[in-house]
Amino acid sequence: MSAWILDRLWLIPAVPFAASLIVLSLPNAWRRRAAALAATGQVAALALSVVAFLPTVQTHGFRAAQNFTWFTFGDNALQLGFVLDPLAAAMLLMISLVGLCIFVFSIGYMADDKNFVRFFAYLSFFSGAMLGVVIANSLLLLFIFWELVGLASYLLIGFWIERPSASAAAKKAFITTRIGDMGFFLGMLWLYNRSGTLLFYDGGKGCLESAGLAMLGASATFIALLIFFGAVGKSGQFPLHVWLPDAMEGPTPVSALIHAATMVAAGVFLVARVYPLFSLGAINGVTSSLTVVVWIGVTTALMAALIAIAQADIKRILAYSTVSQLGLMMVSLGVGGVAAGIMHLIAHGFFKALLFLGSGSVIHGCHGEQDIRKMGGLRRFMPVTFVTYAIGMMALSGVPLFFSGGWTKEEILHAVGHWPPSHAPYYLMFAGVVLTALYMTRQIIYVFFGDPRASVDHSHESPRVMTRPLIALALGAILLSVVLTPAWPWLHEYLTGEPVHFEIGRLIQPALFVSLVLVSAGIGVGLWMYRKAGVQAGDRPAQIDPLEYAQPALFRFLANKMWIDELYYRTVIAFSWMAARLSDWLDRYFWDGLVRGFGAIGQVFAMFTTGVDERGINAGVDETTVGARGLGRLMSAAHSGQIQIYLGVVAIGMLALLLLYAWLV
């Protein structure tokens, strides 16, 4: 069994791709068949992932690569390949499992959409590409799938194509991530030129193995940073995070699958995959590239968490929360906690998908309303959604012991606390944890507690096809805490391939208590601040947020996303647009003007002979032709129709050649 899958790793992405192709060619009316086919593809991918997972569990530090030649150019072969190792297997499992839940949820959520079939085709396509990213054994193959993932994201964000805002968001996402991808592209080329191969693992010759790494030398830092730039774009890290909140224009299942659980995590995965490049030449686990990763992560995590506090759109809050969590994962990778980062990635995949699907269920129940200030009291109408949402919220906030997020967050804090260069990230992460708990509390109070407000008239619980995936994901979020607990460090060992010794001291050391205190502080402050949210309190009107009431300037700053979009619009975008106009202008007037200038020289000569002709002896005969001799026309003046002028020009040309010859000899 395990040998069978190792030779056929390509099947894992190929199955959803094939499903996507077939679904795309189905007529629009075959809704159920399309959904069934897409879901079958996903189930098959899940089954294959499970099969692929087994051998990695049996052997410690298992790694199998299957390489093949894509093409030969000249007499050089370009090799691609697939790899199966614990990192890939764990990601495969997470993606196909979460993906399946979301597929099922979409059947209910998109039931009324007229482009239902196309939606599933895109979704399958995405799934295939994402699975491909995970098992690629070549940076080039990873890049290929990476771009396809970006394409799927573009198509799905702009899925409601008749909405101008959706297509604008799709364009923004595509271009912003492509900015990052250009860095990735250059990094990849650089790596290829230095190491001569793009295969990660190739029996000791791959670029992540010692022989390949040895060839990199000092350029490794730059290569790593360029590749990290790609991850920054895809994972919505500062300063390329601006596309991710806008991407919420897509249908909610898309947000759950792509912009929460899987694609945005690809950046984190990428850094983890090429981690040897980052840590090459590390002193005490610190390299300059990793330091950059840490600080970008810290900035992103804090900034996004702050912005999330002041958002009103239920999905945008989750989007900024995603950005913030991805920042946290980056920090973790940067300080050396690769396993912790990946564990958080997997846990985050479950609970963030859960939260997004929950928000989808809420939106579905409120007939498309997304403004949390207009909801309220939904726990009575949508009990299942409420319970699962609360589980997701607690997992995200990092409530310890029973929720997956608690353990992974604690692990990350533990790793950050031991970072040699500085303790600043450690304390800044404290603020991040508090803020996360705070904005999630705010959201849940606004949505589920208090009295029903504007849009909650005919709210109802969603159909079972939507609630079942919620329950499944909620169970996942809880059950995962079993494998994530440091008391049983199996997953940690599995991911790193090294035995981890559990010390009981871990459980009683400050970090755990600190995180417990922080989470309770966050939730407590939230409960206190927003206890009267959405209702009138004192002289504060109901629709004004308590924070807005207390700190209007700060709130406006945060609600407008720190004006980063506006800043980009006024600087980068305005500048590029100006450059575009300038290029066009130069082309039309400057370069073309030069050409016309050369034309004019010919014209002047023609005018000269004409002038001599006319003013010379017999102006009388020529007057008839003067009128017709269009002086203003660009080149046509040379075409006077007068053979003698033609002859004269030939003679002058001859003379010029003669002079040239004389000059040369």
């Binding site: 005969v621 020529d622 008839t624 032709t625 017709a628 001799r629 026309r633 080149m635 046509s636 040379a638 075409h639 006077s640 129709g641 007068q642 053979i643 003698q644 002859l647 004269g648 003679a651």
Partner: protein, 104 residues
């Protein structure tokens, strides 16, 4: 004392320039034809002169060229003069200044 090749080429150049003068500055179509014939004649003179001065002229190439050139220029003259007549019939002029139908 015999003339050098240079002298012949100089004469040929002068003849060519005179032909050019006729072709460029006179307005009557027949003058243009005469000018062109003169230029061709200058070229023929060159062929012959270079043939004559070339070392060991085994093949009479220059002469052959001149013969063909004369034949072709005769054909050209016939056609040219026929065109002059045809144009004269049509436009009642042989003044090339007035013949600018091809003006761009």
């Amino acid at each position: 004392m015999t003339p050098t090749l240079q002298a012949f080429v100089l004469v040929s150049g002068a003849l060519f320039s005179i032909g050019l003068l006729a072709a460029l500055s006179r307005r009557h179509a027949i003058f243009i034809l005469i000018g062109i014939e003169l230029m061709l004649a200058a070229a023929n003179l060159n062929f012959i002169a270079f043939w004559h001065f070339a070392p060991q002229p085994h093949q009479p190439t220059g002469v052959m060229f001149a013969i063909f050139s004369i034949a072709i220029s005769a054909a050209e003259a016939a056609i040219g003069l026929a065109m002059v007549i045809a144009v004269y019939r049509h436009y009642h002029t042989t003044n090339v200044d007035q013949l600018d139908q091809l003006k761009g």
